[in-house]
Symmetry: C2
Subunit: 447 residues, 2 copies
């Protein structure tokens, strides 16, 4: 079999890999991308897009429930038609994949389907159903094979009443009650979705708060909101020891000894790097968490091989993967001269209201914290979305933002303003001095 | 009567006047504010806040109507309970006024109620029920007495079926059909609101498009959206010659000769500066439109007297008034040394989807236009909000934004990012290179 030659081969066609391929091809790098499944990766077909379809329905349910506030007849929690949800997931995943495909075609990226195996010296064997179909080599590789969910032997989905994000749409109806094992981003988003759709939700979180990377004060307020607005039972500092389906019930045992019965169980205890492209696990240096170790240019321990996205560790967000894609390609083009370096990125949780954060919120010298409440603004009050806080951290010497964390309607969009400021050295006072449109949520930064 | 002495007297307690008083008092200027009505001005009690309460209900109605998309049972257009609307307007106006009052108290601003008359040499007589109650003088005056609606003798509200924004909440039910005279910001917002709440709406606009200040290409797409999504009949280049109520119908005659019958008529043909504070109209130089003439520091033709907000002309937005407030106070403090100068401001229309624009969108040398569609993004598609476009204008030499215009969900919030860039000389490429949170609407700038 002859070996196809490229400047760059990207392994994995999720949001990060696709961005890497596009960003490179548009800069005249001869690029191939290898997709193990349909274009879009797990994000498009199993996690990101499907979860957002759930969340959009949950948000619509909230609007219907809140109708009486706005002068319409009061409604009970509307009943979600699971067939519509499943069909929307399919439609939206296909649409997202189609948009990706169009861009790849337009940018002249070669797309190969199959499992990629890196055989050393930047040669990649592409296998389909266990057979080699293509051998390709490149000056540079970018690995973006993503991550897969973790399950423990005694806490595993069973395709019936014990479910996980990817298989959740398979349920027949919204559960009366559900216990969610794991209070990270995924667990928290689904906790909101199920609660807004009518379930009695319990989250069990091993760490001392939901969303462990989030500023503690903001997280505490957010947890209070989830408890009060959605009646979610949040149990922290506690691990799930066992989860078993007995008849049509799920019985969950916590390490505190407590036993909780619910109609469904949901597992979202974490994700691990997908290292299936490696023939020998020792080919690349890994971190103690079994993530691929990279430097500030996304270089792995092997020359010419870059890694981006989930397999480089937390936060596992599509926008971080996209940024890393640009950083890696920029380094391929410009080497150490590259000016595109790791910069401040947003982490968000798309519950309603959502959570978003950027930078670091640790107490430190020369740092001032300012907290603002959405209920001081016209827009959130009139739209009945006034629950929420934003906390920002300012360097008292330069006036620059050091970080921000908040929850509330539109928080990930508000954070885009702060991200723009942080990545361009704009001081808070220079944001503050020009009023944003009135009434908007952005005004939280200019009042 | 002894004369009270201040450093600054602000005439008019709408959003602009309040910001001027707060901004000054926090900088140790001894400040008084004179409020003709309750704190908050016409914006709070008659126009801005009430219209936004209408719009919030209209938006909620849309969510209910779109429920089937998200997997819930389909609903007819929900029927708005006018009592709830009226009560919400009262609550929200009071809440906004209370927030203003709290801030004024906290900042130690002296508040006087009554009609202000400027008698020359920066002395102000405050009258209540025609009687002088207080005489006050100050080194500086800031006039922010706002604007009032214009009516022609033969096109006037009658408190029955011919209405205007302020008295619209008085109607018994949402009209089956309504003709809106005037397609500026107010006419367009109410056209959306009535249509979303179930009315068959016709807008008659004297100029060649709705929202005459908006980029023509964006406006055309927006008009098409209003026609297709809300079945709004938009008649441009046409004036209303007469509007009469006959029985329970309103008969409108256009200058084209066409006669249109509707259940209600609505008048929003423009606003004029409120110059009631002037004893002699010749005391201040006016523009040909009868607006108060000001320079870049908001100075009027009289030394020490500044004017801000609606009475200085279009665009009549609260955020422009707020910015002018800061500019005027900064000039009072720092004179020509003031670095706070008129900068790029957003104009927005809060229909759903909303419209927003900034800067100028004229064709010119060294200008490049880039158009993007919301339907290329994940968030708008999944949330069923993909109708919308953003057009940006970039200086090809510097890469800086020259302007932007768009319509679509969250457009006024997206515009805050562009406003931040424009006011801080950040190039489009420097916004583009760092991905915003995924999925958000802000990504329209970073894909």
């Amino acid at each position: 079999m002859s070996t196809l030659k490229f400047d760059l081969i990207v392994i994995g066609a999720g949001p990060g890999g696709i961005e890497a391929a596009l960003y490179a091809a548009k800069r005249n790098i001869k690029t191939a991308i290898i997709s193990a499944t349909k274009i879009g990766g797990r994000a498009t077909w199993g996690s990101l897009i499907p979860s957002k379809v759930w969340l959009a329905s949950a948000e619509n349910a909230q609007s219907i429930i809140n109708a009486s506030t706005f002068g319409f007849q009061n409604k009970e929690t509307p009943v979600l038609n699971m067939d519509v949800l499943r069909s929307r997931i399919k439609t939206q995943s296909s649409k997202a994949a189609q948009l990706y495909e169009n861009r790849l075609v337009e940018a002249n990226v070669d797309v190969f389907y199959g499992m990629a195996k890196v055989t050393g010296d930047k040669t990649v064997i592409i296998e389909k159903e266990g057979k080699e179909t293509v051998v390709a080599s490149a000056k540079h590789l970018i690995i973006s094979s993503g991550s897969a969910p973790i399950f423990f032997p005694n806490i595993k989905p069973n395709k019936d009443h014990i479910i996980a994000p990817k298989i959740a749409p398979g349920i027949e109806k919204i559960p009366d009650s559900i216990l969610i094992a794991g209070g990270g981003v995924t667990g928290t988003e689904f906790a909101f979705a199920f609660a807004a759709l009518g379930s009695q939700v319990t989250i069990v979180q091993a760490q001392n708060q939901l969303l462990p990377r989030l500023d503690a004060a903001i997280c505490q307020r957010y947890e209070t909101h989830l408890r009060e607005a959605f009646n979610i039972n949040i149990i922290v500092d506690t691990k799930v020891s066992a989860m078993k389906q007995i008849g049509q019930k799920v019985v969950t045992t916590l390490d505190s000894g407590e036993v909780i019965e619910s109609e469904y169980g949901f597992i979202s205890i974490g994700r691990k790097a997908d290292l299936s492209f490696l023939e020998n696990p020792s080919d690349l240096l890994l971190t103690p968490d079994n993530m691929v170790q990279i430097d500030e240019y996304c270089r792995t321990s092997q020359k010419g091989i870059y890694a981006i996205g989930d397999l480089t560790g937390a936060p596992m967000t599509a926008n971080k993967a996209t940024m890393q894609a640009r950083i890696a390609v920029s380094h391929i083009l410009h080497g150490a001269e590259s000016t595109l370096l790791p910069a401040h990125n947003i982490e968000a949780v798309y519950s309603e209201p959502p959570v978003a954060s950027i930078g670091n919120m640790n107490e430190e010298e020369h740092a001032e914290f300012i907290s603002k409440s959405l209920n001081q603004l016209v827009k959130p009050n009139i739209w009945n979305e006034a629950a929420g806080f934003l906390k920002i951290k300012i360097d008292t010497r330069s006036g620059l933002f050091k970080g921000a964390a908040g929850y509330g309607k539109n928080m990930p969009e508000i954070m885009a303003i702060i991200q723009t400021a942080m990545n361009n050295d704009i001081a808070y006072r220079d944001i503050y001095k020009i009023p944003f449109a009135h009434p908007t949520f952005s005004e939280i930064l200019s009042f």
